[in-house]
């Protein structure tokens, strides 16, 4: 009994000091869900740069290559992907679904912008200036954002967000597409399938 009294009188142990990441997470959690728009905004910046006439007009490419190097696009893509990951962790820790739903849309936008950037780069001959790394960075961002978008909508939908329930299907399609594209990068079978589609369409439109 006396031992218990003594214990009761002892001052409470101080809580363990919070690490930088935890404190940063709390800070971020305090601010508005609109932060979830960051990936989408980064995507817009990226695709807007990719549509720069200097990058897609043949006679200006060489000069533009110095100003808009592949590294710039790769870094933007990575940044968007990292933000998406961090914001997904933040959104998951919140009870309300607004952050996750918004993040789902935002990462879907980043997904679309990255696909567009990749396509613009390829169509306009950036393979003559970029390394495989730059294209790979964009592709992994595409894959990552599709998964994060799907996960955001799925979690928010499970928590009752009708908005997320509607859009989870779209992001599921993007995940399937990414799976197809990833398989295309290494499977001759899938590459042959793509070739078959292209040949068949040609045959259907030419005689």
């Amino acid at each position: 009994m006396s031992k218990n009294k003594q214990a009761a009188k002892a001052p409470p142990a101080p809580p363990p000091p919070e690490g930088f990441v935890t404190r940063l997470g709390k800070d971020i959690a305090e601010v508005t869900p609109l932060l979830a728009l960051i990936p989408g905004i980064l995507g817009y910046v990226m695709v807007n740069a990719a549509m720069n006439p200097e990058l897609i007009e043949l006679d200006k490419m060489a000069q533009a290559a110095e100003r808009w190097h592949g590294d710039d696009f790769a870094n933007l893509a990575w940044l968007g992907l990292v933000f998406s990951g961090v914001l997904f962790a933040v959104g998951r820790s919140r009870e309300r679904t607004a952050t996750l739903s918004l993040l789902g849309v935002s990462t879907l936008a980043l997904f679309g912008c990255t696909v567009a950037t990749f396509s613009l780069a390829w169509v306009h001959g950036r393979e003559n200036y970029w390394d495989a790394y730059h294209f790979a960075a964009l592709l992994w961002t595409v894959f990552g954002t599709s998964v994060l978008s799907f996960a955001s909508f799925k979690v928010a939908g499970d928590r009752g967000s009708v908005f997320a329930q509607v859009l989870v299907g779209v992001s599921a399609v993007t995940v399937l597409l990414c799976l197809f594209v990833w398989t295309y990068t290494w499977s001759p079978l899938v590459q042959d399938f793509e070739g078959w589609i292209a040949r068949t369409l040609w045959q259907m439109t030419h005689g």
């Binding site: 110095e66 393979e127 294209f135 790979a136 299907g169 001759p188 045959q203 439109t205």
Partner: protein, 656 residues
Amino acid sequence: MNGQTITIGLLAVLTGIGLLLNTQFGDELGVLLDRGDVPDAVQPFFPEPNADADAIIAAVRDALDSWAALESTPAAGDDDDSAEPVESVPMTAELLEARHPALNGIDYGDRWILSVYVPTRGDWIRPRITTLERGAYAAAADVWSTLTVRQKTASVLSGASIKVDLIVGEERSFPAEGGERGVALDEGIDGIVLRHPKRKTFWYPPSLSVERKVSRRKIHARARFYARELGGWRRAQTKEAEFAAFRTKAWVQIGDGPVTAITRGNVDVPEITPELLRERIDLAAQYMTRETNEHGMIRYQYEATEDDDDFDSYNLLRHAGSVYAMAQAYRLTEDEALFDAALRAMGFFLRITKEDEKNPGERFVVNVNRLNTDLTPRVGRTSKLGGIGLGLCAMAELQKARPGSVSLETTLEMARHVERMQNPDGSFDSFYDWTGTDKRLRKSIYYSGEAILGLLRVYQVTGDEHWLDVAEKGADYLVDERWNSLGLTIYTPPDAWLIQALEELDRERPDPDREAYAFAIGEQIARHKQMDPLKVPEDMLGAGLSGVSSLPHAATAGSFGEALSAAARLEARRRPGESRFRTFALYNAEYNIRNQYWGPNEYALPNPARAHGGFRVKPDHGEVRNDHVQHSMSGLFGLLDLLDETAPDIAEKVQP
């Protein structure tokens, strides 16, 4: 989740799939609706010989010749006795039928169309087109009445081509302008008839769509243009006219040559044999010889359908490639005129090269991509790796063709420059900043392969394994690193130069990764070509894929021929008993030589003698460029190496 949200979600998914399909295949999917039920081409694709066609062509030619002879009969008192005596009996319908009894059995109806092509140097040929409803004599007279005085001479008409089309099947309606992107009309297969109450019906035979360059979506407009140009219609009448599509079987004769069946403006090709390949390489080599001037410049571009060579563009890299192919051909033909031309062209190239002042003992080349108004080369500042790489191929090939014909020391100076361009990881810089003010970030996909092949050829003529080491290091970078990153393979470029290099490197230093990569390049190329004879029209077998509004590129069949024949040689060595790439290479070669001007398919050219042996860009585009001829020659040379044991080895090693 309730049923309503799931339904909405599914709708969203379907919308997403629709958008995606539209993005990827929107062009093709969109036009399928307008294509409707366009029938397959008339079979057999290249028609059998036809006695009626033979008789009509012979009779028309006879009538034209006799009228021309009459026109050129010396007038009384003309003492020019140098002219050969000519027959000057006036041709009549009765006389024509008497001389061509086969005409009597022909039921002309409204099914026959006659076209006469009279060569006109320096301009496209405006064929004289008429129907044969009133018989061969009346049709010939129609044509005669439209010829100019200069054309009404025996010498001009002796080079004229006569074509007859026999309409088969029923006419068919089609959307105006051929529908979306002209997809309701097949280029070269569909003709168009225009009818207007105030005009004689105008027939636009199918071949007109391929005899001069026209986009598929403009075929209908081209028919209206020809109605104005050839039929004398007014513009408004062409727009008011009723129109329909029709199909024909056709036969053509150039001069007094044989009558040949044509479809899509082209003739069939015989089976690919070593003899045929030798013949076609020789024809192409003769074209190159003719187009090499006394200074060693090779005509870069000749528009065969317009007989126009008034272009100021040039390309020294492609010039070097052309010399390489000419030297290859010499190894087959031993034609001294060809070798002289190749040496002159090599001399031209070497005069543009520069000794590297910063690095003694090395030599690079600067580009020439324009000609001055006096047709002298406008030497630029850019120094391309590919230029020196193909220069090495040319030098080595001349050395193989005739040892000692070029300087081995100069070859080594060029090779040392290529080695300098290599980075520690094996990659190559594509451009050499020899002025110190022209740093370029561009990395050409193909220059490295050209450089590596050049180095291998240097090894073949020197026996120095050092060049093999440099080439191997470069090849390994391209195979293992160039397009691989972060666990992804981004791209397998259809690099025809690299695959040739890998095949030749495999002979000296076999490596499973390089071998697999070479086959991957071959698959990548074949995947986007029509390789199933049961699914495509005969003349499209081996063709690549094209956009909806155009026919497949034929010039790329040359470079892909180099690639696929290299894959086939590798296959013969590494996969004995298999013939996948051999078959691909043969189909590709078929499409390639179908698009070489070699005889009957020159019927619509204003100057067939000049185009003879050249390879055109597309079935409907008669531009002949020296690099297209080069790729085709080298591809056929590589295939010959595979098919004929007695043919020169493409990677032959010779002693220095």
